[in-house]
Symmetry: C2
């Protein structure tokens, strides 16, 4: 599976090379921001792991579809959507680092600062909002001009739009939960993981590949469910990395979920299990912008000693079992592909960034 992801990433990189090159002349005509946005976007999308984009190709290829080039293009669109969301999210979360570099709005704030433009932080955010919007339009340009028949194109676009709308709504819940003082139930947290990560990161690219390959709705439903479960595991891993990863490898600050008071599953279970005196201390740490390594260390050890880490591990094991059951029940395909899906589960659980 890792080789398959690596090969797919290569194909996506090649697509982006010629895609951005093809836009260059037109964009230069508009204003200085035309080539500027293309360069930053190219650097941004090619700096990611491109898992989402690769998954479009995966389900297309395992269905032996005939739209290989279009699956790469749709995968590239998927990566541009992800870029747009990350650019907008970083503004909402005030994150200044992403993929090991300054986040896009932070880059723009620096441009404004260097050119002695007033109000440079706000201008950076404003330019970031615009750049994210442009990334969305570029993604739709790719999808809208795919060389597929009208029925496939309509179905594909409908699926993308609906899921992206739901991601937007889930992001609203995420932002609002982060700022709110109330606890968020496990049920609501899992609902958020389902829409913001599961359906978006896995079900959507799975579905895109299947639609391109002309598969029927029953198969799409199975893969949608598979994607939801894989996505919840992926998100829990993301939360885990946000607490325990090596910062350099992760490419963004460890502990930012704590200072942003993200209502993760770890946090919720920790509060369910913590003693009153620990709770008091935790309430002072979560949502505090100025936490240090000591605070993170304290939370890490409490996650272990309270049994929280163990409980989350058990939950992940349960979801993993469900994933294996779904993979076994998928329609007949070459064993190779089922193995790859199982490897995707392992990758999801073992990744370090």
């Amino acid at each position: 599976m890792l080789n398959y992801l690596k090969d797919s990433r290569e194909l996506l990189l090649r697509f982006f090379d010629s895609f951005f090159l093809g836009l260059d002349a037109d964009y230069r005509k508009i204003n200085r921001w035309g080539p500027d946005v293309l360069a930053r976007m190219n650097s941004f999308v090619t700096g990611g792991k491109m898992v989402r984009g690769s998954l479009v190709r995966l389900t297309h290829d395992m269905s032996e579809g005939t739209h290989g080039d279009e699956a790469i293009a749709a995968g590239a669109a998927m990566e541009l959507f992800q870029a747009a969301f990350l650019i907008h999210d970083d503004i909402m979360d005030r994150d200044v680092t992403r993929r090991g570099k300054p986040s896009v709005h932070a880059q723009y704030a620096e441009v404004a600062e260097n050119e002695a433009v007033d109000d440079s932080l706000h201008i950076g955010e404003a330019l970031g909002i615009c750049a994210g919007d442009v990334a969305l339009f570029l993604a739709f340009e790719i999808l809208g001009t795919l060389n597929v028949n009208g029925e496939i194109k309509g179905k594909l676009l409908y699926n993308f739009c609906r899921e992206l709308e739901y991601v937007g709504l889930a992001q609203m819940a995420d932002v609002y939960h982060g700022a709110g003082r109330d606890a968020v139930s496990r049920e609501n947290i899992l609902a958020l993981y389902r829409y913001k990560t599961g359906r978006y990161t896995f079900s959507l690219p799975f579905t895109a590949g299947l639609i391109l390959a002309g598969r029927d709705d029953a198969v799409i439903e199975q893969f949608t469910l598979l994607g939801e479960k894989l996505g919840i595991i992926f998100q829990i891993k993301d939360d885990e990395l946000g607490l325990w990863a090596h910062e350099e490898e992760l490419g963004k600050p460890v502990g930012s979920d704590i200072s942003e008071n993200k209502k993760t599953l770890y946090r919720e279970i920790l509060f369910e299990r913590a003693r009153d005196d620990d709770k008091k201390r935790l309430l002072k740490i979560f949502g505090n912008k100025k936490i240090g390594p000591g605070d993170i260390g304290y939370i890490r050890s409490l996650l272990e000693s309270s049994g929280t880490r163990n409980e989350v591990e058990n939950l992940t094991n349960r979801f993993s079992e469900e994933v294996r059951t779904i993979i076994r029940s998928l329609p007949a395909t070459q064993p190779l592909w089922k193995d790859r899906l199982l490897e995707l589960l392992d990758y999801n659980r073992q990744r370090t960034k």
Copy 2:
């Protein structure tokens, strides 16, 4: 023309009624923000004049196309794009009023404030960014599922995406100019008007209607040029209204272009013509967030006495002549339609909001 716009608006309102109703059940399943966004979006889009949406129908109908329903739907998508841009723009410009009501991010800041959520202003902005994104996806959902053949759909989506990308780039220039201290040349100002307003507000809906009606590229080019010129006139009128309109009728604060230091044509010509002592005073007013009626009154009278208002009027007359020439040269159509386009020019020049 006014009657035609009114009728089109009615048809768009009817479309939106059933569109939002059709989304309601699915959106309710996601979270509290699903129905919330739909309600705010419905109120927002139906509060506008819907000129852009109506223009899609106009060029489709004057071409005697057979996609009447699709022209209304594409017009509705146009209005949703506009809603998304306005929601994002208001965050960038820190405008808290729009269409006579609190702007969307200001509404969300109030929700957060009322529910004792921390950092309510920022949370309002974050929710506004998301709501704008959702509006974009809804617009693409409409376009992606139009009942037209694959060729028309591809051409339509390509056109929409490219122009929207350029609007994003033009908005970046606009934001950046506003914050910068340097003068912006007339040429750059007109280039901005062309992409941010002309091609987007007129050429794009014109083109959408023509594509739906199956018109060829030569006609689309003529209408694109017509749209650019009409749009520059529209933008100059917008600038004029921002200086001289009645605030209640306009639905947003008069003078905000001054406090935001927008590099309008009026501002540029005023600085070209002002005496040194006036220039000093002007520099203290433009970009100042705390200007009062006295400052606006001073600028108004200087715009008159310096001959700036007159020069802009002459420029507008020149563009109007060019518009009339293009309309006369359009391919043969019933005289009624050419008259309507001429009335659109008049409307553009005479509107009071």
